[in-house]
């Protein structure tokens, strides 16, 4: 949704860059932990468990000609480091240097953050006589991961290999007969693969290459797991919708949001996202039309896990293998 402001805002791009990071005031973090295209910083380093704070050196570029021509005054370039889980908010004002860029630094204290901090930039100015107006922000915020070793923006589903029968995780024991289970209660959805089940099952899944039959089996099984995962994630994502004051459901955050955005167009085709959310919430709470929804949920999950494509490929290659065998 495009926001509308009752005052002039910046049209040009506001860009924020992380130049370097130093840990505990002295040691520089290797730059490989910063990914500019992904706009992500991985702070969790191998070999350094204990650190208290790190300093991020920032550089921002604003659409200078536009600012010079505009009627804004008292321009402030404010970087903010926030995290929802800890309600943390640290801000720093950047200073304008001679070459026209804005630079400065911001400290991230480990005691105030848990998983992932968001680093954003807001340009603030006095506008029509009103102080402190936000007139522009970076199109994409940076993420500072405290628990990731490599900088990746899109958090993927975590895949954990564990022995359900004899492994250390007792809660997995009741599921000892199943090949995999999906768990969606946490920050990141997890797929647990049972190493104590069929011999070679996990190796087969993790391998690449092998005979045609092996590839087939791998494709089909991973497709099946993906289907299960998508279905479970969808149900989790819609199970706990917060509602607005007038009863409109609010889009959840994190992976739940991504899942809903991806799947809702297939689950309720032709519907606006907010309408679809409203509809789903109503069906879920009132029970009306919930059963009908299952078909489309299954269809959407299948589409995302590309199960049809995999199945088609599988059938074709089995067919081909059989034909060459009988020939």
């Amino acid at each position: 949704m495009k926001s509308v402001y009752p005052y002039p805002i910046l049209f040009g791009d506001v860009d924020l860059d992380v130049l370097s990071i130093t840990v505990d005031g002295t040691s520089p973090l290797p730059y490989s932990h910063v990914s500019k295209p992904e706009r992500t910083v991985a702070l969790h380093q191998s070999g350094r468990e204990n650190w208290e704070y790190c300093t991020l050196r920032l550089r921002a570029t604003l659409p200078e000609p536009e600012i010079a021509a505009g009627e804004w005054t008292d321009l402030v370039c404010l970087a903010a480091l926030t995290e929802k889980a800890t309600n943390a908010r640290t801000t720093a004002r950047l200073k304008r240097s001679a070459d026209g860029a804005w630079s400065g630094s911001i400290d991230l204290h480990r005691s105030r953050h848990l998983n992932r901090a968001t680093l954003g930039l807001t340009v603030v100015a006095t506008c029509d006589g009103v102080e402190g107006r936000a007139i522009g922000t970076t199109a994409q915020d940076w993420y500072v991961d405290l628990k990731g070793a490599t900088p990746v923006r899109q958090r993927e589903i975590e895949i954990v290999e564990a022995d359900f029968r004899e492994g250390p995780e007792a809660w997995l024991r009741p599921y000892k007969d199943s090949l995999w289970i999906i768990e969606t209660t946490g920050e990141v959805p997890r797929v647990y693969l049972n190493t104590g089940s069929v011999d070679g099952f996990v190796d087969m899944l993790g391998g690449n290459g092998g005979t045609t039959a092996e590839k087939l089996l791998r494709d089909m099984t991973s497709g099946q797991i993906a289907q299960d995962a998508w279905t479970a994630m969808f149900h989790t994502a819609i199970s706990d919708l917060d509602v607005d004051e007038d009863g409109t459901p609010v889009m959840p955050t994190g992976w739940r949001e991504s899942v809903l955005r991806m799947m809702l167009p297939d689950v309720l085709p032709g519907r606006q996202l907010t309408d679809a959310l409203y509809d789903i919430e109503e069906r879920r709470t009132k029970g009306f039309g919930w059963a009908e929804l299952q078909t489309t949920v299954q269809y959407a999950a299948g589409k995302r896990s590309q199960i049809t494509k995999k199945l088609t490929n599988a059938v074709r290659s089995v067919d081909a293998a059989e034909r060459s065998a009988t020939r």
């Binding site: 309600n87 908010r89 400290d107 005691s111 809660w171």
Partner: protein
């Protein structure tokens, strides 16, 4: 009403995964008729690093909770204002630690399930016995019985001064509504809001809850175009002071009658709060009661302004509102 209290408390806190709470939480537990299965729950727990065990004793917290139940037998909501600062000063930890919901699960399921029921149990009705909703045992930071108090103290304290926390707890809507907003993560904003709210509470305004909700919505909506950070500059809290305070707290017992002292990690500058007060007073005066928060609260008073800041701010009261 006498509630079943757990016996054989574990000596130190631990981390209890959400999944374990979901698995064992039953209506019997929620209504206070039975205790959670301690042995099974304890088995599901993950222990903290043994080096920090000294400051994770359960006994001082349990004592506090018993005292709270004894002090406020008839007005359980009033216990919040007494307990929040004392819980914060007893259970000393960093925000990173407090953000771990598993700790709060442990307090609610193992250390003091009886307190959860005592504080949040709904009235018995024709449909059956009243219960404390599951979200009071394991839930978001502004819903769970203990984390909401700890976070209220953390977000509304002014350095070592817990005074504003007590004010915040006078109306339930501050904890239920205001605490959900992202704008209060900016300390001067939180302090200025409490000043305004304290002001109209002292004036004895009728329907204080509605005023808090309307005012919070107005501040939040205006905050989507106004950067309070720029209007009222804040200084970073001193992280070292906080860590020292946490270390010093091991074995310390909070005073039951006098307000304890929090970490002196830096107070909010008076000038910063003063800078926001006139604006907030104006917002409060103009905030329409019981109306959509996005309409007519911006300074121009006509355009609903969608928030450019991160989404996810909701102003609803929880349905299990007590």
């Amino acid at each position: 009403m006498s509630l079943l209290a757990p016996v054989d408390l574990p000596p130190v806190f631990a981390l209890l995964p959400d999944a374990a709470v979901t698995k064992y939480l039953s209506r019997g537990i929620q209504s206070g008729l039975e205790l959670p299965p301690q042995v099974a729950l304890t088995r599901a727990c993950v222990a903290y690093d043994a080096r920090t065990a000294v400051r994770r004793q359960t006994a001082p917290v349990r004592e506090l909770l018993d005292e709270a139940m004894g002090r406020f037998p008839d007005d359980r909501a009033a216990a919040d204002g007494w307990l929040a600062p004392r819980l914060h000063a007893t259970l000393r930890m960093t925000r990173a630690e407090a953000a771990d919901s598993r700790l709060w699960n442990h307090v609610a399921m193992i250390v003091a399930p009886d307190y959860v029921v005592w504080r949040h149990k709904g009235a018995d009705s024709a449909d059956g016995r009243g219960i404390a909703t599951a979200a009071r045992f394991s839930g978001l930071h502004y819903t769970q019985t203990f984390s909401r108090l700890w976070w209220a103290a953390e977000l509304f304290r002014d350095g070592e001064d817990y005074g504003p926390v007590v004010t915040a707890c006078r109306v339930q809507d501050v904890l239920n509504t205001t605490m959900r907003l992202d704008v209060i993560d900016h300390r001067p904003t939180a302090q200025a809001m409490i000043r305004v709210i304290g002001g109209f509470l002292d004036a004895g305004i009728p329907r204080p809850g509605d005023h808090v909700n309307a005012f919070s919505a107005a501040v939040n909506a205006a905050g989507s175009t106004l950067m309070y950070d720029v209007l009222a500059e804040d200084v970073d809290p001193d992280a070292d002071e906080l860590l020292e305070w946490i270390e010093a707290g091991a074995g310390e017992v909070a005073d039951w009658d006098r307000l304890p002292e929090g970490p002196s990690d830096g107070r909010v500058r008076t000038a910063a709060v003063d800078a926001l007060l006139p604006l907030f007073e104006k917002l409060r005066a103009e905030a329409p009661l019981r109306q959509r928060p996005s309409a007519g609260v911006d300074e121009e008073g006509d355009v609903p302004v969608p928030a450019p800041r991160t989404s996810g701010v909701v102003l609803t009261k929880p349905s299990d509102f007590v």
